[in-house]
Symmetry: C2
Subunit: 437 residues, 2 copies
């Protein structure tokens, strides 16, 4: 092989930042070599706004940007859509379906999936929120439940249909609960004749003593109060004992709900387990301080699949890691390779954390300051718009936000035509045995 | 039953116009009664722009508007999502899954589906374009074929992947061929490294002697010339003899193509056949001049499911029929019912027809005038924006159009995460037996 090949697996925040950083370095320093980015999708997903696709505020393409168009201006970068099946690190190969790709340097950024803590069957009963398919499924099921409720003559079934349970009081759970409450209270309010969507029961279940446990306690209390004001039934110290078809078993009661969303845990990508490196209790990789794999100085792992003390599993951390390893790889090409122990360590620069709760309401924790209310909300909107890739996407999302703020309307209120998105218990909303009229 | 119930089946152009007209009449004349609109989806689909969803220019929610929000301001209208299973016209019942709905007046607007002229197996090999699911399937398969072509080492397979066949030279076929040619030539051009998307082969097959056979001959020739300029291989007098997995059999040759789209025929909704009324050769209902069903003066049928001499199967005709029957029904409530032969006949007011071909190019036929080029294109854009429902949708679509015109970029270039949309022949683009590097 003539010129070195850098292979990046995964086009999430970490992998994409690594690719762009390398693309810039290659252009600036006239480095020779090839960068290949592999992902199973053809788009980069802006996950922080995924809950808005799930709650009908945005369309999928608003936050899913074609990887090829993002990286178009870097001639050294090639993009390949493919499913990674495994790794042969000693032969320096990444295995795809029926083929293998050789590398000189490897950057792994495979991300995380929803974890049900080993209760595999729970995945059937509670949808997670990690992919566009998840978001579409949640949206269609939510809207379909209101449609079914409008038709049914059975009061118990109606109550079940109008109950939404969100498991997990982290940022995703809080944002989803707030958005679903607003969907029911503001958007759907005038749409139905027989049911009153504002009577929908939205429960947010958290096993621990407070919401947003990665944030300062004060902000967890603010989020709790704001959600209660929106009508969300926040239940702390409420660990889920079991999940069934349309039912959530708590220590003291069983709740019937047509919609159950699971945001209580994430686990690193399943292939992480197969990598020859130590793992922490949750399955994440333990890496050298430079983010290389022990024993494989040319292999790096970044983002939600690694465990680095003091670094949270959030997009800015993955992006910083991507930049760090891209610089290491580019430096090695420019100045020669250094052994891992001589390389600069990854240092996380804490830029803060934030979560929206609803209309003009958010919590933010930046440096030592905590703030909430409209100022935090404006900060949240601005930062998300700045980091969303592509002028077109920024413009459309900004328009959708202004529109829904002014009109209390949400544009993407459509039930997608897929078998998969059909209601878990019933295929059609009109499948009730009654004669009307 | 105290107050009369008007039941409308289908929320396409005909049914929705009937509902809005009745809603207005009820509000204005303080009529009492209930209007119930049933559709299998929760949205009205603006079908004239569906080909732009299929070719990645628009997102589904841009042209799919929630029915409930369109009809929100009419208190007498109720909306119900449900699958219609059949009719019992003598008992005045519409049968849903497990339930039945009684009516006093019935307006049927079930629309049309893709017809393969009885060749049922062809549906597996060639996707039609009537629903949002169809559009998403076409988009995902098209984009996936380019991804696969970028990976494969097999030159024959690559050629097959880069071949798109569109069957049917009517407005949908012409618009799709133009949009796919522009997608390959302008949008994807800079996205790939190993393949040249501008080399994609796009064939438009028409069994008859010219394109757009409902338009004046001159416009068919213009469309043909414009498409050829865009690089589309237009084949007239090319009836399809057979369709197989990735192959189209013509009288003189067999073409291998990963993507085959079928726009060559439509048939009325399958339930049309079960209605107790005469049908024409293509299965459409023959109705009284007032659009009522013979023998059922309180049952009307409108839109693509009926055959009225001189009336084309296009949206404006369905809308005019919807208005006509809504007026008949409202008049009967206000002034008493007249027998069908004494009611005003439906008269089609021909507002013309148009089709886009590509960037700044369209053909239009209005009154006795035919025109084409940028003026026809501007007219096309304007009319479609005016008729698209909802300010939000108009604004987003207008933005997307301006953006793609200025940048040659298309926003919705994402492959949707569904098993159904996987390539017909291969599951993953990387499933080729080779070792790279």
């Amino acid at each position: 092989m003539s010129s070195p090949r850098i292979l990046i697996c995964g086009a999430g925040f970490g992998g994409l930042t690594a690719a762009r950083t390398l693309g810039e370095r290659f252009s600036r320093s006239r480095l020779s070599g090839e960068i290949l980015l592999i992902d199973k999708e053809n788009y980069h997903l802006f996950q922080p706004l995924l809950y808005q696709v799930a709650t009908a505020g945005l369309s999928g393409p608003d936050i899913a940007i074609p990887i090829r168009s993002i990286l178009r201006r870097y001639p050294q970068i090639r993009v390949r859509m493919g499913n990674i099946q495994g790794f042969d690190l000693s032969a320096q190969l990444v295995l795809l379906e029926g083929s293998a790709v050789a590398y000189d340097s490897l950057i792994l950024s495979l991300g995380a999936t929803t974890s049900y803590f080993g209760r595999v069957s729970w995945a059937e009963h509670a949808v997670g929120l990690k992919s566009l398919a998840d978001a579409h499924r949640i949206r269609s099921r939510l809207l379909l439940a209101f449609e079914e409720a409008e038709c049914t003559e059975d009061a118990d079934r109606r109550e079940e249909l109008l109950t939404v349970v969100i498991v997990g009081g982290g940022p995703t759970g809080v944002e989803l609960a707030g958005a679903i409450a607003e969907l029911a209270r503001h958007v759907l309010r005038r749409d139905f004749r027989r049911i009153d969507p504002t009577k929908a029961r939205i429960l947010l279940l958290e096993a621990g003593p407070r919401l947003l446990n990665q944030f300062p306690e004060k902000l967890g209390r603010v989020a709790e109060r704001k959600l209660r004001e929106l009508g969300v039934d926040v239940r702390l110290l409420s660990p889920v004992r079991d999940l069934g078809e349309g039912s959530v078993v708590l220590p003291t009661e069983t709740i019937r709900a047509a919609n159950i969303v699971w945001t209580a845990g994430i686990a690193p990508h399943p292939l992480t387990a197969a990598l020859p490196a130590p793992h922490d209790r949750s399955g994440r990789l333990l890496v050298h301080p430079d983010l290389s794999l022990p024993g494989y100085p040319n292999v790096f792992a970044i983002g939600d699949m690694v465990s680095v003390p003091g670094v949270p599993a959030i997009a800015p951390a993955a992006m910083q890691m991507g930049r760090h390893v891209a610089d290491l790889v580019a430096n090695a090409l420019s100045f020669g390779s250094a052994p891992p122990e001589k390389r600069p360590h990854f240092r996380y620069r804490d830029k803060g954390m934030m979560a929206t709760i609803g209309r003009a309401s958010a919590v933010a924790w930046i440096g030592k300051a905590t703030f909430n209310g409209p100022a935090a909300w404006i900060a949240w909107l601005t930062i998300h718009l700045v980091f969303l890739i592509g002028f077109r996407n920024k413009a459309v999302v900004l328009f959708e936000w202004i529109w829904s703020y002014l009109t209390y309307g949400l544009g993407a209120r459509i039930i997608l035509p897929s078998e998969e998105t059909a209601s878990p218990t019933r295929r059609s909303p009109s499948d009730s045995s009654s004669t009307e009229g």
